[in-house]
């Protein structure tokens, strides 16, 4: 009979869970990547593991383990995790930066605590990535943060990125700041294009 009905669930093993996170924390340094990945997933239940998970993210090279570490940090999802993930925006590793943004987009309450600093960061790349977090963030202040940014930021690329998001989320509150931005960056073709798109949409939906 080639089609076989078979499903044998292994016996549940909650030993490590009962004993706390210590065994998993130790396992996070195991030589086998599979063991480190399992530990990373398990530690997603322990908020006190955030510093260790973030340290592991610094040194881990195996993609599947890094992915598990990020998933664990996202599952814990507290302010400490969000701050640690926000720090990843400075990393050279493009995969890590993008993965951190993805996780942060799912933590709107916690992002609120770190976004103000990111949007005024000295590094314009960090500011552009911070705008990327706002792209699909479900938080009522997204428009306010973007408007504050375009009123103050002197970088054309940062403001262009902000206008891209505003094209979707802008309300009447955006009309004056976007108009001022167009004046400030007079002669910048992308700002002119994106700014007019925002204002055009607002005018048509008035």
């Amino acid at each position: 009979m080639p089609l076989m009905k078979h499903f044998a669930a292994p016996a549940a093993d909650d030993t490590s869970l009962d004993e706390g996170p210590d065994a998993w924390l130790a396992q996070l340094a195991a030589p086998e990547a599979a063991a480190r990945r399992a530990a990373a997933h398990a530690l997603g239940d322990w908020p006190e593991a955030v510093p260790v998970l973030l340290c592991a993210l610094d040194v881990e090279t195996e993609q599947a383990v890094r992915s598990a570490l990020l998933a664990a940090l996202g599952r814990i999802g507290n302010e400490e995790a969000a701050a640690g993930l926000a720090a990843c925006l400075r990393r050279e590793d493009a995969w890590l930066r993008n993965a951190a943004i993805e996780v942060l987009r799912g933590l709107p309450g916690q992002v609120a605590a770190v976004i103000a600093h990111l949007l005024v960061d000295w590094d314009r790349d960090v500011r552009i990535l911070a705008v990327g977090i706002l792209d699909t963030l479900r938080h009522p202040s997204v428009e306010t943060w973007l408007l504050q940014l375009i009123e103050a930021d002197g970088d054309v690329n940062v403001c262009g990125a902000a206008l891209d998001v505003l094209a979707e989320v802008a309300t009447d509150d955006a009309r004056a700041p976007v108009t001022r931005l167009l004046e400030r960056f007079d002669g910048e073709p992308y700002i002119a294009f994106a700014g007019k798109l925002v204002l055009g949409r607002l005018a048509r939906s008035a």
């Binding site: 195996e62 993609q63 993805e102 309300t171």
Partner: protein, 280 residues
């Protein structure tokens, strides 16, 4: 209260957002379909118009309205042979590749998640019997799981409406089903061939029981998840699969948008995702 209206700009704005979040693209020809459902949701939420509703949808922390809207915008039904190009891909491309590197005597294991009322798992079983001659050389296990125990009981009973079986070739219908007062009953042999189990995909500890699968079918489920749950599901599927195992998603879903753990495999019949052979 006046009827809310959706302008061309509103439609454009909405479909860009909906595509980015769900991967589902609405052509301009779907305008009527989309507008009608948007108006329904605007009314259901007591919003004053599209702008009011869109802001609520976009920023609501619970994501509850997003869920409700996705339910409205997607065709939430299953039937035998649905998106059958993937079953073609299974028997023409995926299984031959898996069989070529598997040891004799090792079972081939397929997981269907979510099971719903069993149409997909039974379709796979029928495809293997009808379209994969090598089946006689292998033991194949099909496990079909769902969070809903009522739907699993329905799957095990194997009784289907005319609508569910209408895409089946007449010869297969005759061979594997019998007509009953309540519809069409799938034969005992197939009911005995599929194991139906309850699992919550969102709970990694429950999914720990599912390991060493060669193929996972997870179609039209992830579109209902939020980003974090989707990523968690991708992590779980990675652990469920053997190295080199495949995952088949629904036509509007893309693993590349969720996780970089899997590789894209373009077969002549379908695009599917593969856990790398090397590494974990």
């Amino acid at each position: 209260m006046t009827e809310p209206t959706i302008s061309a700009d509103d439609f454009q704005r909405f479909r860009e957002y909906f595509y980015r979040r769900s991967g589902i693209h609405f052509e301009p020809s779907k305008r009527y379909f989309v507008d009608k459902r948007l108006v329904e949701r605007i009314r259901a939420n007591g919003c004053t118009g599209f702008r009011d509703y869109f802001a609520m949808l976009r920023f609501q922390a619970s994501g509850q309205e997003w869920q409700a809207l996705v339910n409205e915008m997607t065709v939430n039904e299953t039937y035998f042979m649905r998106e059958d190009y993937q079953f073609e891909c299974l028997v023409e491309s995926i299984l031959p590749e898996l069989a070529a590197r598997k040891r004799r005597g090792e079972p081939l294991r397929i997981w269907v998640m979510p099971s719903s009322s069993g149409e997909e798992a039974y379709t796979i079983a029928i495809f293997l019997l009808e379209r994969w001659p090598e089946l006689s050389d292998w033991d194949v296990e099909i496990v079909s799981s769902d969070i809903d125990t009522r739907i699993l009981a329905q799957a095990q009973a194997g009784l289907y409406s005319q609508r569910a079986i209408q895409q089946l070739p007449a010869s297969w219908l005759q061979k594997y089903f019998t007509r009953e007062a309540g519809g069409w009953r799938i034969c005992q042999m197939l009911r005995d061939a599929v194991a139906f189990t309850r699992v919550n995909l969102a709970d990694p500890r429950e999914v720990d029981a599912y390991r060493d699968y060669d193929v996972v079918f997870c179609r039209n489920l992830l579109i209902y998840f939020d980003d974090a749950s989707r990523r968690q599901a991708a992590e779980s599927f990675f652990d469920v699969l053997r190295p080199g195992g495949f995952i088949c998603l629904g036509h509007s879903e893309s693993m590349s948008r969720i996780s970089s753990l899997f590789r894209i495999r373009k077969f002549p019949q379908a695009i599917v995702y593969q856990k790398p052979l090397e590494g974990l």
